[in-house]
């Protein structure tokens, strides 16, 4: 129970994006924002996506969360596996798209399925993946306090766990305490010990006691004394609330989680064509819903009209957790920040709050969409350090999106270079910086100002001529060819395929391989 060893299994993929295709249907035509993009992020890895403005970085990030604003945008094709579940399983059924001409597209949305899709996505978002946005000022609700916004995120997921830990706290007895104290004292290393204490405090819904406990274990070696201290401290935190009511809440949320899981299974079954299982699951969901309606009728009425009382223990837990999270992201005066509104804080502080919010449910994957772009350099460094720390401590995978190569060098293990909606190169970070293959990547590297080249004769900063193509009517073949120094005839005719040319190093360029990407013939261009 108290093992801190993290075993990194290289093969496990937290996020896998396959053949993602995103289109925006505008009045000027169809914007081919993302074309056949594939990449994957392993457990504990931080993956960087670089590119110029308008190359499709942010669209990729929002697509992974399925948050592309619709209208005008839609994911047309692709698979996005989050923790093994393809969130785009029923993509084809959600809407029928008929293209009369590029400016006249009829999209017929299926309301019922979209409703179910949204329901499932709201269970996945925030819980398994969360996102930190570019503009902290715009990304916080201006009329809600920071505390309320973070609390909301906490209370949306893992209610059962919260109820469990509150019950654990309320029923904590001497025997249990002595057992825990023994295991902690058996740990010789102070640092690991402290980590265990913090984690256990979280588990028992007493995060505010972590500090006194660590002090206690540092200053004393007397087992009985410690046990007594811990017991008395824990007893002060017990609120003596009605455990039966809490159990009821717990059962209610347990049932809700069960229904969500069944829905996920149902989608899987429907997609694999297993009609019998699907029918069974559907019946099961119906049954559970009806039991929920009958068994928890009174409870849901109470929840609707007397939420303050029903949710009071949860609210209190969320408050403690919010404070803990804000302290974790090194915010000065977390109590004050909790009651502040977004306009009262600086950009750096807000970005920390965003990160705290993103971590409220301990997600396995964090998507950071240019989280430092709007911030000044010192704050940038702090935010990056914070994210690195979280990445290390919780083994969270990070999808890091930026145009800043320095940030990439600082943060990422692997880098994907994106141009015009296509992935043109993918390699470990060192390879990208010292052994870039694709002409676009080398161009990007040469555009970095370097101190040691200041006195050279050719002190001019190199840039890539031209600008990002208009994706309504992208160049044929390789989308980079009009700007490329090494342009060949084949470049404008065929599209190069992303091929692994060295270990872990993939490039899509005819300079390195002749493989052509086969465009599947489709209705949507």
């Amino acid at each position: 129970m108290v093992e801190e060893n993290i075993t990194v299994t290289e093969q496990k993929e937290r996020l896998k994006v396959q053949d993602l295709k995103v289109r925006f249907f505008t009045s000027k035509g169809i914007v081919k924002a993302i074309d056949n993009l594939s990449f994957s992020i392993r457990e504990g890895e931080s993956y960087g996506l670089v590119g110029e403005s308008g190359s499709g970085k942010s669209v990729t990030a929002t697509a992974v969360m399925d948050l592309i604003p619709d209208p005008p945008g839609r994911i047309i094709r692709g698979k996005i596996y989050i923790d093994g579940f393809n969130i785009l399983t029923d993509l084809d059924q959600l809407a029928k798209i008929r293209i009369k001409s590029p400016t006249d597209v009829i999209i017929k949305r299926k309301k019922r399925l979209i409703k179910r899709h949204n329901y499932i996505m709201s269970g996945i978002r925030g819980d398994k993946v969360s996102m930190v946005f570019q503009e902290p000022f715009l990304s916080m609700n201006p009329v809600m306090t920071i505390g309320d916004q973070i609390k909301e995120a906490i209370l949306l997921h893992g209610r059962v766990d919260i109820a469990n830990s509150i019950i654990k706290r309320e029923t904590m007895n001497a025997q249990e305490v002595s057992k825990i104290v023994d295991t902690i004292m058996a740990q010789p290393d102070t640092q690991t010990r402290n980590k265990i204490i913090v984690r256990l405090c979280g588990e028992y819904a007493i995060p505010e006691l972590a500090k006194p406990f660590t002090d206690l274990f540092e200053n004393s070696t007397d087992r009985d004394f410690i046990i007594n201290e811990v017991l008395s401290l824990v007893n002060t935190k017990k609120t003596g609330l009605n455990l039966e009511k809490l159990e009821e809440s717990k059962n209610y949320f347990l049932l809700r989680e069960r229904i969500l899981d069944l829905n996920l299974e149902l989608i899987g079954a429907e997609h694999s064509g297993d009609e019998r299982t699907a029918a069974q699951l559907e019946a099961q969901i119906k049954e559970l819903k009806s039991t929920m309606r009958s068994q928890f009728l009174l409870y849901s009425i109470k929840r609707r009209f007397m939420r303050r009382f029903i949710d009071a223990p949860f609210e209190k837990f969320a408050e403690g957790r919010t404070l803990e999270l804000l302290t974790q992201v090194n915010i000065a005066g977390p109590e004050r920040v909790m009651t502040s509104y977004p306009h009262e804080l600086s950009g750096g502080m807000l970005q920390r709050c965003m990160i705290a919010m993103a971590f409220s449910a301990n997600p396995q994957l964090l998507i950071a969409d240019e989280p430092t772009t709007a911030l000044d350099v010192t704050t940038q460094a702090q935010i990056l350090d914070l994210m690195k720390e979280v990445n290390k401590n919780y083994n969270t995978s990070i999808l890091f999106i930026t145009h800043d190569l320095a940030v990439i060098a600082e943060m990422c293990d692997r880098v994907g270079v994106i141009y015009g909606g296509n992935l043109v190169e993918e390699a470990p970070v060192k390879e990208i910086f010292y052994n870039a293959k694709h002409p676009y990547t080398t161009g990007l590297m040469n555009a970095i100002p370097r101190a040691e080249r200041r006195f050279e004769k050719t002190a001019r900063l190199e840039s890539i001529p031209g600008s990002v193509p208009n994706l309504i009517d992208p160049p044929s073949g390789c989308r980079f060819h009009p700007r490329c120094k090494f342009k060949m005839d084949v470049c404008s005719e065929k599209k190069p395929k992303l091929v692994e040319i060295e270990k872990d190093h993939k490039v899509a360029c005819f300079l390195y391989s002749d493989e052509v990407e086969e465009e599947p013939r489709e209705e949507i261009p």
Binding site: T62, M65, L67, P69, K115, N118, Y119, M121, S122, G123, I124, R125, G126, D127, S130, M131, F133, E135, L138, S139, M140, N141, P142, V143, M144, E152, A153, L156, H157, Y341, H343, M354, M357, A361
Partner: protein, 350 residues
């Protein structure tokens, strides 16, 4: 606590505005000249107009002195008399007529807000859907249809028989208004009228049939007014919803995993309602200022009704006092709107 100081500071602004208002109405008084002004003060008791005016402290050769005695009159409630629609002191007339308007305005506001918020949320969450188009037509018609026309249509449809037009006879109105001005409603009641709001007075006296009648008399005017207000705020809520749902923070909320319904109700709507408060405040102040046509058509004894009669018969004191009262109402509703806005939107610096 800062809010308290904000209210005080904001309320102090009323004083200079009020001064301006009194000067404007005084100019009106000056323009009417001695004869009409004296008419409000039983001038027939005196030898001539000048004597009657002098008794009230007015001297038309001394503007400054007259202004101050006019102020004294205004603030002490010594507002002279009027003869139409009732023959009484102006103060008494206002006391009788104004509560009726308050009742009408509050009822119309409450009904339209109760309808507009859920309806606007529903429509605003589905821009360009059939429901949205229907809402747009509804709003536009509410703007375009004059209230008096709608009032007559409602009377014809639901009131008593008018000529040969078929009728439903649901509500107690005939085509020429329900009440006879020569025997005003307030004299004929067998109950005492401490608040002058018939609904409440009837309840106080425990007279259920009277309450019922008062309630039935209220429905059509309220419906007419509600249509107009609803049309106004529905469009604002819809626009606010569409605007707010394109903001970044909505994406953040969705990324947190907030269910779609809660996103709309908690995150989008809260921001969408902010501009609506301002519009609603303006609408309410115009209602309280007497919806002249509606009150006139329904023979509803409100302040708008009073205003029509005083203006028609050039009863100077009625005109002056009502202008003054309308000004004050506008100022106070503006103050209330500002305070509510500051309360709702934490970004307002006060």
């Amino acid at each position: 606590m800062e809010l308290k100081y904000f209210i005080i500071r904001r309320a102090l602004v009323i004083i200079p505005t009020l001064m301006g208002l009194t000067i404007l109405t005084f100019l009106l008084l000056w323009a009417y000249g001695p004869n009409l002004v004296a008419a409000g003060f039983e001038s027939e008791k005196y030898h001539n107009v000048a004597a009657a005016l002098a008794a009230q402290g007015f001297n038309f050769s001394d503007p400054i002195g007259t202004y101050f005695s006019y102020l004294a009159h205004l603030f002490t409630g010594n507002w002279g008399t009027i003869n139409q629609p009732i023959s009484a002191k102006t103060l008494t007339a206002v006391e009788i007529f104004f509560p009726n308007t308050i009742q009408l305005a509050i009822a119309a506001t409450i009904v339209s807000v109760i309808i507009a918020i859920p309806l606007g949320t529903y429509i605003g969450a589905r821009p360009n859907s059939p429901a949205d188009q229907a809402g747009r037509i509804f709003s536009l018609s509410g703007y375009a249809l004059p209230a008096f026309w709608l009032a007559y249509v409602l009377i014809i449809l639901f009131g008593k028989k008018v000529g040969v037009v078929p009728y439903l006879n649901i509500f107690p109105y005939d085509g020429n208004g329900s009440l006879n001005v020569s025997s005003p409603i307030f004299n004929n009641f067998h109950v005492s009228t401490p608040t002058h709001i018939l609904l409440i007075d009837a309840l106080i006296a425990g007279d259920i049939p009277l309450f019922e009648s008062a309630f039935m008399h209220l429905i059509l005017p309220v419906a007419t007014l509600t249509y107009g207000i609803l049309a106004g705020i529905l469009r604002f809520i819809r626009a606010g919803m569409v605007d707010a749902s394109n903001q970044e923070f909505v994406k953040t909320a969705r990324a947190k995993g907030v269910p779609e319904k809660t996103v709309i109700k908690k995150h989008i709507r809260k921001n969408a309602l902010l501009p609506t408060v301002t519009v609603l405040g303006l609408l309410v102040s115009s209602l309280l200022g007497g919806v002249v046509t509606v009150e006139y058509v329904f023979d509803y004894l409100g302040i708008g009704y009073l205003a029509v009669y005083t203006a028609e018969a050039t009863q100077v004191w009625g005109i002056l006092v009502l202008t003054f009262i309308f000004g004050i109402i506008l100022m106070i509703t503006n103050l209330i709107v500002d305070v509510i806005y500051a309360f709702l939107d934490p970004r307002i610096r006060y």
